[in-house]
Protein backbone atom coordinates (compact mmCIF):
# COMPACT_ATOMS: atom_id res chain seq x y z
CA UNK A 1 0.00 0.00 0.00
CA UNK A 2 1.60 3.26 -1.11
CA UNK A 3 1.16 6.06 1.41
CA UNK A 4 0.66 8.69 -1.31
CA UNK A 5 -2.68 7.36 -2.51
CA UNK A 6 -5.42 9.86 -1.78
CA UNK A 7 -9.03 9.69 -2.83
CA UNK A 8 -11.13 12.65 -3.86
CA UNK A 9 -13.57 12.21 -0.99
CA UNK A 10 -10.79 12.43 1.62
CA UNK A 11 -9.88 15.91 0.43
CA UNK A 12 -13.52 17.00 0.26
CA UNK A 13 -13.41 16.78 -3.53
CA UNK A 14 -16.21 15.32 -5.55
CA UNK A 15 -16.03 14.19 -9.16
CA UNK A 16 -19.09 14.82 -11.31
CA UNK A 17 -20.56 11.51 -12.47
CA UNK A 18 -21.67 13.04 -15.77
CA UNK A 19 -18.80 15.25 -16.96
CA UNK A 20 -16.01 14.10 -14.64
CA UNK A 21 -15.09 17.58 -13.38
CA UNK A 22 -13.59 17.47 -9.90
CA UNK A 23 -14.89 20.19 -7.61
CA UNK A 24 -14.60 21.07 -3.93
CA UNK A 25 -17.51 20.27 -1.70
CA UNK A 26 -18.01 20.43 2.03
CA UNK A 27 -19.62 17.51 3.82
CA UNK A 28 -23.20 18.28 4.92
CA UNK A 29 -23.29 21.30 2.70
CA UNK A 30 -26.75 20.63 1.32
CA UNK A 31 -27.29 19.76 -2.33
CA UNK A 32 -24.43 20.80 -4.57
CA UNK A 33 -24.26 21.04 -8.35
CA UNK A 34 -21.42 20.67 -10.81
CA UNK A 35 -20.17 24.06 -12.03
CA UNK A 36 -19.74 22.76 -15.57
CA UNK A 37 -22.79 20.63 -16.28
CA UNK A 38 -25.12 21.38 -13.33
CA UNK A 39 -25.61 17.71 -12.40
CA UNK A 40 -26.03 17.07 -8.69
CA UNK A 41 -22.81 16.09 -6.95
CA UNK A 42 -22.39 13.22 -4.52
CA UNK A 43 -19.31 11.77 -2.85
CA UNK A 44 -20.87 8.33 -3.26
CA UNK A 45 -24.10 7.24 -4.91
CA UNK A 46 -26.81 8.11 -2.36
CA UNK A 47 -28.37 5.16 -0.54
CA UNK A 48 -26.27 2.80 -2.67
CA UNK A 49 -26.20 -0.20 -0.35
CA UNK A 50 -29.83 -0.15 0.77
CA UNK A 51 -31.21 0.38 -2.75
CA UNK A 52 -28.96 -2.33 -4.12
CA UNK A 53 -30.14 -4.76 -1.39
CA UNK A 54 -33.78 -3.89 -2.08
CA UNK A 55 -33.52 -4.69 -5.79
CA UNK A 56 -31.40 -7.75 -5.14
CA UNK A 57 -33.82 -9.26 -2.60
CA UNK A 58 -36.74 -8.63 -4.96
CA UNK A 59 -34.74 -10.35 -7.71
CA UNK A 60 -34.07 -13.37 -5.45
CA UNK A 61 -37.79 -13.70 -4.71
CA UNK A 62 -38.80 -13.51 -8.37
CA UNK A 63 -36.00 -15.87 -9.37
CA UNK A 64 -38.08 -18.76 -7.94
CA UNK A 65 -41.21 -18.33 -10.16
CA UNK A 66 -38.93 -17.37 -13.05
CA UNK A 67 -37.44 -20.85 -12.96
CA UNK A 68 -40.45 -22.90 -11.85
CA UNK A 69 -43.19 -21.43 -14.03
CA UNK A 70 -43.38 -22.09 -17.76
CA UNK A 71 -42.01 -19.32 -19.95
CA UNK A 72 -43.35 -20.76 -23.19
CA UNK A 73 -46.34 -22.91 -24.23
CA UNK A 74 -45.99 -24.61 -27.57
CA UNK A 75 -48.95 -26.27 -29.20
CA UNK A 76 -49.48 -27.97 -32.55
CA UNK A 77 -51.78 -30.62 -34.00
CA UNK A 78 -49.70 -33.46 -32.64
CA UNK A 79 -48.11 -32.15 -29.48
CA UNK A 80 -48.46 -29.70 -26.65
CA UNK A 81 -45.74 -28.72 -24.22
CA UNK A 82 -45.04 -26.18 -21.51
CA UNK A 83 -41.41 -25.23 -21.11
CA UNK A 84 -39.63 -23.69 -18.17
CA UNK A 85 -36.22 -22.14 -18.80
CA UNK A 86 -34.37 -25.34 -17.90
CA UNK A 87 -36.68 -27.76 -19.72
CA UNK A 88 -36.43 -25.53 -22.80
CA UNK A 89 -32.65 -25.83 -22.74
CA UNK A 90 -32.83 -29.61 -22.23
CA UNK A 91 -35.26 -29.85 -25.16
CA UNK A 92 -32.88 -27.85 -27.37
CA UNK A 93 -30.00 -30.12 -26.35
CA UNK A 94 -31.98 -33.30 -27.04
CA UNK A 95 -33.12 -32.10 -30.46
CA UNK A 96 -29.52 -31.55 -31.50
CA UNK A 97 -29.20 -27.74 -31.30
CA UNK A 98 -26.16 -27.92 -29.03
CA UNK A 99 -24.75 -24.49 -29.83
CA UNK A 100 -28.05 -22.76 -29.19
CA UNK A 101 -28.57 -24.80 -26.01
CA UNK A 102 -25.19 -23.62 -24.69
CA UNK A 103 -25.86 -19.97 -25.64
CA UNK A 104 -29.27 -20.00 -23.95
CA UNK A 105 -27.82 -21.79 -20.91
CA UNK A 106 -25.15 -19.12 -20.49
CA UNK A 107 -27.59 -16.24 -20.96
CA UNK A 108 -30.51 -17.57 -18.91
CA UNK A 109 -28.91 -19.67 -16.19
CA UNK A 110 -25.24 -18.80 -15.73
CA UNK A 111 -25.48 -15.00 -16.00
CA UNK A 112 -28.47 -14.45 -13.67
CA UNK A 113 -26.93 -16.77 -11.04
CA UNK A 114 -23.56 -15.07 -11.42
CA UNK A 115 -25.20 -11.69 -10.94
CA UNK A 116 -27.22 -12.68 -7.88
CA UNK A 117 -24.28 -14.37 -6.15
CA UNK A 118 -21.70 -11.73 -7.09
CA UNK A 119 -23.86 -8.79 -6.03
CA UNK A 120 -24.55 -10.51 -2.70
CA UNK A 121 -20.81 -11.05 -2.24
CA UNK A 122 -20.00 -7.44 -3.16
CA UNK A 123 -22.67 -6.03 -0.83
CA UNK A 124 -21.65 -8.20 2.13
CA UNK A 125 -17.94 -7.44 1.74
CA UNK A 126 -18.65 -3.71 1.40
CA UNK A 127 -20.88 -3.71 4.48
CA UNK A 128 -18.23 -5.53 6.51
CA UNK A 129 -15.62 -2.95 5.37
CA UNK A 130 -13.57 -5.77 3.97
CA UNK A 131 -10.16 -5.03 2.46
CA UNK A 132 -10.09 -8.38 0.69
CA UNK A 133 -8.91 -8.25 -2.95
CA UNK A 134 -10.42 -4.88 -3.94
CA UNK A 135 -9.02 -5.06 -7.46
CA UNK A 136 -10.63 -8.43 -8.18
CA UNK A 137 -13.92 -7.25 -6.72
CA UNK A 138 -13.85 -4.15 -8.91
CA UNK A 139 -13.16 -6.36 -11.90
CA UNK A 140 -16.07 -8.60 -10.93
CA UNK A 141 -18.33 -5.54 -10.80
CA UNK A 142 -17.14 -4.42 -14.25
CA UNK A 143 -17.92 -7.91 -15.59
CA UNK A 144 -21.44 -7.76 -14.12
CA UNK A 145 -22.12 -4.41 -15.76
CA UNK A 146 -20.98 -5.87 -19.08
CA UNK A 147 -22.84 -9.19 -19.16
CA UNK A 148 -26.03 -8.38 -17.22
CA UNK A 149 -28.07 -7.32 -20.23
CA UNK A 150 -27.53 -10.58 -22.13
CA UNK A 151 -29.97 -12.40 -19.85
CA UNK A 152 -32.76 -10.70 -21.78
CA UNK A 153 -32.07 -13.17 -24.59
CA UNK A 154 -34.78 -15.65 -23.61
CA UNK A 155 -37.40 -12.91 -23.32
CA UNK A 156 -36.71 -11.85 -26.90
CA UNK A 157 -36.75 -15.43 -28.19
CA UNK A 158 -40.10 -16.14 -26.50
CA UNK A 159 -41.54 -12.83 -27.74
CA UNK A 160 -40.51 -13.48 -31.34
CA UNK A 161 -41.81 -17.05 -31.34
CA UNK A 162 -45.08 -16.16 -29.63
CA UNK A 163 -45.70 -13.27 -32.00
CA UNK A 164 -44.78 -15.16 -35.15
CA UNK A 165 -46.18 -18.64 -34.61
CA UNK A 166 -49.88 -17.87 -34.70
CA UNK A 167 -50.99 -20.13 -37.51
CA UNK A 168 -54.61 -20.98 -36.85
CA UNK A 169 -55.06 -24.50 -35.47
CA UNK A 170 -51.77 -25.73 -36.95
CA UNK A 171 -49.27 -24.30 -34.52
CA UNK A 172 -49.35 -21.83 -31.70
CA UNK A 173 -46.79 -20.47 -29.24
CA UNK A 174 -47.64 -18.47 -26.15
CA UNK A 175 -45.50 -16.70 -23.62
CA UNK A 176 -46.00 -18.08 -20.12
CA UNK A 177 -46.09 -16.34 -16.72
CA UNK A 178 -42.47 -17.35 -16.09
CA UNK A 179 -41.42 -14.91 -18.83
CA UNK A 180 -42.71 -11.94 -16.81
CA UNK A 181 -40.93 -13.11 -13.67
CA UNK A 182 -37.73 -13.75 -15.57
CA UNK A 183 -37.83 -10.34 -17.28
CA UNK A 184 -38.32 -8.77 -13.87
CA UNK A 185 -35.30 -10.62 -12.48
CA UNK A 186 -33.14 -9.28 -15.31
CA UNK A 187 -34.39 -5.70 -14.82
CA UNK A 188 -34.04 -5.86 -11.03
CA UNK A 189 -30.48 -7.21 -11.11
CA UNK A 190 -29.54 -4.54 -13.66
CA UNK A 191 -31.00 -1.86 -11.37
CA UNK A 192 -29.16 -3.35 -8.41
CA UNK A 193 -25.81 -3.25 -10.18
CA UNK A 194 -26.57 0.29 -11.43
CA UNK A 195 -27.05 1.50 -7.88
CA UNK A 196 -23.97 -0.24 -6.54
CA UNK A 197 -21.05 2.16 -6.13
CA UNK A 198 -17.69 0.43 -6.77
CA UNK A 199 -15.89 3.19 -4.88
CA UNK A 200 -17.31 1.70 -1.67
CA UNK A 201 -15.05 -1.31 -2.27
CA UNK A 202 -12.00 0.92 -1.92
CA UNK A 203 -13.09 3.12 0.99
CA UNK A 204 -12.03 0.74 3.81
CA UNK A 205 -8.49 0.72 2.38
CA UNK A 206 -8.22 4.47 2.79
CA UNK A 207 -9.28 4.36 6.41
CA UNK A 208 -6.72 1.68 7.14
CA UNK A 209 -3.65 3.25 5.55
CA UNK A 210 -1.84 5.94 7.55
CA UNK A 211 -1.86 9.25 5.73
Amino acid sequence: MKAKEVTAAELGLCSCHVCGLVSRRMQNDGPAHCSRCASSLHFRKPGSISRCWAFLIAAYILYIPANLMPIMDTGSLISYRKDTIMSGIVHLWKTGSWTIAVIVFIASVTIPLLKLISLTLLLITVQRHSTWRPEQRTRLYRLLELVGRWSMLDIYVVTLLAALVQIQSLAIVKAGPGAIAFGAVVILTMLASNYFDPRLIWDPLQKESPL
Binding site: V6, T7, S15, P134, R149, W150, L160, I167, L170
Partner: protein, 210 residues
Amino acid sequence: MTTDCSTIIACHECDLLQREIPLAPGETARCHRCGGTLYRNAPNSLDLTLAFSITAAVLFIIANVYPIIGIELQGNKSALNLFGTVRSIWNQEMHIVSLLVLVTTILIPAFQLTMMIYLLLPFKLDRVPTGISLIMRLLQSIKPWGMVEVFMLGVLVALVKLTHNFIVIPGVALWSFGGLTLMLAAVAASFNPRDVWIHVERQPGREVSG
Protein backbone atom coordinates in the same frame (compact mmCIF):
# COMPACT_ATOMS: atom_id res chain seq x y z
CA MET B 1 -15.43 27.75 -3.03
CA THR B 2 -13.90 27.07 -6.41
CA THR B 3 -10.51 25.48 -6.72
CA ASP B 4 -8.64 24.92 -9.93
CA CYS B 5 -9.05 21.22 -10.39
CA SER B 6 -8.85 21.14 -14.16
CA THR B 7 -5.83 18.85 -14.28
CA ILE B 8 -6.94 16.59 -11.45
CA ILE B 9 -9.12 13.61 -12.14
CA ALA B 10 -10.79 11.14 -9.81
CA CYS B 11 -11.23 7.53 -10.84
CA HIS B 12 -14.94 6.74 -11.19
CA GLU B 13 -14.48 3.25 -9.86
CA CYS B 14 -12.18 3.74 -6.84
CA ASP B 15 -12.14 7.56 -6.36
CA LEU B 16 -8.33 7.77 -6.47
CA LEU B 17 -7.09 11.27 -7.29
CA GLN B 18 -4.68 11.43 -10.16
CA ARG B 19 -3.13 14.12 -12.30
CA GLU B 20 -4.02 14.15 -15.98
CA ILE B 21 -1.19 13.48 -18.39
CA PRO B 22 -1.19 14.19 -22.14
CA LEU B 23 -1.87 11.13 -24.26
CA ALA B 24 -0.83 10.22 -27.79
CA PRO B 25 -3.74 9.65 -30.21
CA GLY B 26 -5.43 6.33 -29.63
CA GLU B 27 -4.07 5.90 -26.11
CA THR B 28 -6.20 5.29 -23.02
CA ALA B 29 -5.39 6.42 -19.48
CA ARG B 30 -6.17 3.86 -16.80
CA CYS B 31 -6.36 4.20 -13.06
CA HIS B 32 -3.08 2.96 -11.59
CA ARG B 33 -4.84 1.42 -8.60
CA CYS B 34 -7.93 -0.36 -9.95
CA GLY B 35 -7.30 -0.31 -13.71
CA GLY B 36 -10.55 1.49 -14.55
CA THR B 37 -10.59 3.62 -17.70
CA LEU B 38 -10.01 7.30 -16.85
CA TYR B 39 -10.04 8.96 -20.24
CA ARG B 40 -9.02 8.43 -23.85
CA ASN B 41 -7.42 10.44 -26.56
CA ALA B 42 -9.60 9.35 -29.44
CA PRO B 43 -8.89 11.45 -32.51
CA ASN B 44 -12.01 12.70 -34.33
CA SER B 45 -14.20 10.88 -31.83
CA LEU B 46 -17.10 13.31 -32.24
CA ASP B 47 -17.01 13.26 -36.06
CA LEU B 48 -16.81 9.48 -36.12
CA THR B 49 -19.65 9.15 -33.64
CA LEU B 50 -21.81 11.46 -35.73
CA ALA B 51 -21.11 9.44 -38.88
CA PHE B 52 -21.88 6.15 -37.13
CA SER B 53 -25.04 7.61 -35.56
CA ILE B 54 -26.45 8.74 -38.90
CA THR B 55 -25.70 5.36 -40.48
CA ALA B 56 -27.31 3.65 -37.51
CA ALA B 57 -30.40 5.89 -37.78
CA VAL B 58 -30.91 4.90 -41.44
CA LEU B 59 -30.50 1.21 -40.60
CA PHE B 60 -32.83 1.63 -37.61
CA ILE B 61 -35.62 2.91 -39.85
CA ILE B 62 -35.17 0.05 -42.34
CA ALA B 63 -35.02 -2.45 -39.47
CA ASN B 64 -38.35 -1.19 -38.14
CA VAL B 65 -40.24 -0.99 -41.43
CA TYR B 66 -39.54 -4.36 -43.01
CA PRO B 67 -40.34 -7.83 -41.62
CA ILE B 68 -37.64 -9.56 -39.56
CA ILE B 69 -38.59 -13.20 -40.11
CA GLY B 70 -41.36 -14.90 -42.02
CA ILE B 71 -42.51 -18.47 -41.57
CA GLU B 72 -44.49 -20.83 -43.76
CA LEU B 73 -46.36 -23.99 -42.86
CA GLN B 74 -48.55 -25.86 -45.34
CA GLY B 75 -49.24 -22.76 -47.36
CA ASN B 76 -50.00 -20.58 -44.32
CA LYS B 77 -47.66 -17.63 -44.04
CA SER B 78 -46.82 -15.30 -41.21
CA ALA B 79 -44.30 -12.45 -41.16
CA LEU B 80 -43.77 -9.66 -38.69
CA ASN B 81 -41.73 -6.52 -38.25
CA LEU B 82 -40.53 -5.35 -34.87
CA PHE B 83 -43.53 -3.23 -33.95
CA GLY B 84 -45.87 -5.97 -35.17
CA THR B 85 -44.11 -8.32 -32.72
CA VAL B 86 -44.68 -5.89 -29.87
CA ARG B 87 -48.34 -5.45 -30.80
CA SER B 88 -48.96 -9.16 -31.18
CA ILE B 89 -47.57 -9.85 -27.69
CA TRP B 90 -49.65 -6.97 -26.32
CA ASN B 91 -52.79 -8.54 -27.79
CA GLN B 92 -51.90 -11.83 -26.10
CA GLU B 93 -52.29 -10.03 -22.75
CA MET B 94 -48.55 -10.08 -22.06
CA HIS B 95 -48.44 -6.34 -21.50
CA ILE B 96 -45.30 -6.21 -19.36
CA VAL B 97 -43.22 -8.31 -21.73
CA SER B 98 -44.55 -6.30 -24.66
CA LEU B 99 -43.57 -2.99 -23.03
CA LEU B 100 -40.17 -4.39 -22.10
CA VAL B 101 -39.47 -5.23 -25.74
CA LEU B 102 -40.88 -1.91 -26.96
CA VAL B 103 -38.71 0.13 -24.60
CA THR B 104 -35.44 -1.78 -24.93
CA THR B 105 -35.44 -2.36 -28.69
CA ILE B 106 -37.37 0.58 -30.16
CA LEU B 107 -37.78 3.57 -27.85
CA ILE B 108 -34.35 3.69 -26.23
CA PRO B 109 -32.26 3.10 -29.39
CA ALA B 110 -34.39 5.70 -31.24
CA PHE B 111 -33.96 8.19 -28.41
CA GLN B 112 -30.22 7.51 -28.18
CA LEU B 113 -29.66 8.06 -31.88
CA THR B 114 -31.81 11.22 -32.00
CA MET B 115 -29.95 12.70 -29.04
CA MET B 116 -26.55 11.83 -30.49
CA ILE B 117 -27.36 13.54 -33.77
CA TYR B 118 -28.98 16.53 -32.02
CA LEU B 119 -25.84 16.88 -29.91
CA LEU B 120 -23.14 16.31 -32.50
CA LEU B 121 -24.54 17.87 -35.68
CA PRO B 122 -24.46 21.46 -34.28
CA PHE B 123 -20.85 20.88 -33.15
CA LYS B 124 -19.97 20.25 -36.77
CA LEU B 125 -21.51 23.66 -37.62
CA ASP B 126 -19.62 25.32 -34.73
CA ARG B 127 -22.69 25.72 -32.59
CA VAL B 128 -23.53 24.43 -29.16
CA PRO B 129 -27.04 22.95 -28.85
CA THR B 130 -29.12 23.90 -25.82
CA GLY B 131 -29.54 21.51 -22.93
CA ILE B 132 -26.25 19.66 -23.35
CA SER B 133 -26.00 18.68 -19.68
CA LEU B 134 -29.49 17.25 -19.66
CA ILE B 135 -28.78 15.24 -22.81
CA MET B 136 -25.46 13.96 -21.50
CA ARG B 137 -27.13 12.93 -18.25
CA LEU B 138 -29.97 11.15 -20.09
CA LEU B 139 -27.60 9.42 -22.51
CA GLN B 140 -25.58 8.14 -19.57
CA SER B 141 -28.53 6.85 -17.59
CA ILE B 142 -30.34 5.09 -20.46
CA LYS B 143 -27.18 3.52 -21.90
CA PRO B 144 -27.56 0.11 -20.21
CA TRP B 145 -31.18 -0.24 -21.32
CA GLY B 146 -30.79 -0.24 -25.10
CA MET B 147 -30.48 -3.90 -26.01
CA VAL B 148 -30.42 -4.17 -29.80
CA GLU B 149 -27.44 -6.54 -29.79
CA VAL B 150 -29.16 -8.90 -27.34
CA PHE B 151 -32.30 -8.78 -29.49
CA MET B 152 -30.18 -9.62 -32.54
CA LEU B 153 -28.91 -12.77 -30.84
CA GLY B 154 -32.51 -13.51 -29.83
CA VAL B 155 -33.57 -13.31 -33.47
CA LEU B 156 -30.86 -15.80 -34.45
CA VAL B 157 -31.85 -18.24 -31.69
CA ALA B 158 -35.52 -17.94 -32.68
CA LEU B 159 -34.51 -18.52 -36.32
CA VAL B 160 -32.79 -21.81 -35.46
CA LYS B 161 -35.73 -22.93 -33.28
CA LEU B 162 -38.19 -22.18 -36.09
CA THR B 163 -36.28 -24.14 -38.73
CA HIS B 164 -37.26 -27.36 -36.92
CA ASN B 165 -40.93 -26.97 -37.85
CA PHE B 166 -41.32 -24.28 -40.49
CA ILE B 167 -39.95 -22.95 -43.73
CA VAL B 168 -38.20 -19.80 -42.57
CA ILE B 169 -37.89 -16.72 -44.78
CA PRO B 170 -35.34 -14.20 -43.49
CA GLY B 171 -36.64 -10.65 -43.95
CA VAL B 172 -34.88 -7.45 -45.03
CA ALA B 173 -34.93 -6.19 -41.45
CA LEU B 174 -32.83 -9.15 -40.33
CA TRP B 175 -29.86 -7.82 -42.31
CA SER B 176 -30.41 -4.24 -41.27
CA PHE B 177 -30.60 -5.36 -37.64
CA GLY B 178 -27.20 -6.98 -38.09
CA GLY B 179 -25.85 -3.71 -39.49
CA LEU B 180 -27.55 -1.71 -36.76
CA THR B 181 -25.93 -3.88 -34.08
CA LEU B 182 -22.49 -3.19 -35.55
CA MET B 183 -23.17 0.54 -35.93
CA LEU B 184 -24.45 0.93 -32.37
CA ALA B 185 -21.35 -0.86 -31.12
CA ALA B 186 -19.27 1.58 -33.19
CA VAL B 187 -21.16 4.55 -31.73
CA ALA B 188 -20.56 3.27 -28.19
CA ALA B 189 -16.89 2.63 -28.88
CA SER B 190 -16.14 5.95 -30.58
CA PHE B 191 -18.19 8.31 -28.39
CA ASN B 192 -15.94 10.04 -25.88
CA PRO B 193 -17.99 12.24 -23.49
CA ARG B 194 -14.82 14.05 -22.42
CA ASP B 195 -14.45 15.49 -25.92
CA VAL B 196 -17.96 16.96 -25.68
CA TRP B 197 -16.97 18.92 -22.57
CA ILE B 198 -13.66 20.00 -24.07
CA HIS B 199 -15.54 21.22 -27.14
CA VAL B 200 -18.09 23.09 -25.01
CA GLU B 201 -15.39 24.79 -22.94
CA ARG B 202 -13.66 26.00 -26.08
CA GLN B 203 -16.77 28.06 -26.97
CA PRO B 204 -16.47 31.06 -24.65
CA GLY B 205 -19.48 32.65 -22.99
CA ARG B 206 -21.81 29.76 -23.68
CA GLU B 207 -24.51 28.91 -21.20
CA VAL B 208 -24.11 25.24 -20.53
CA SER B 209 -26.59 24.46 -17.82
CA GLY B 210 -29.90 23.00 -18.87
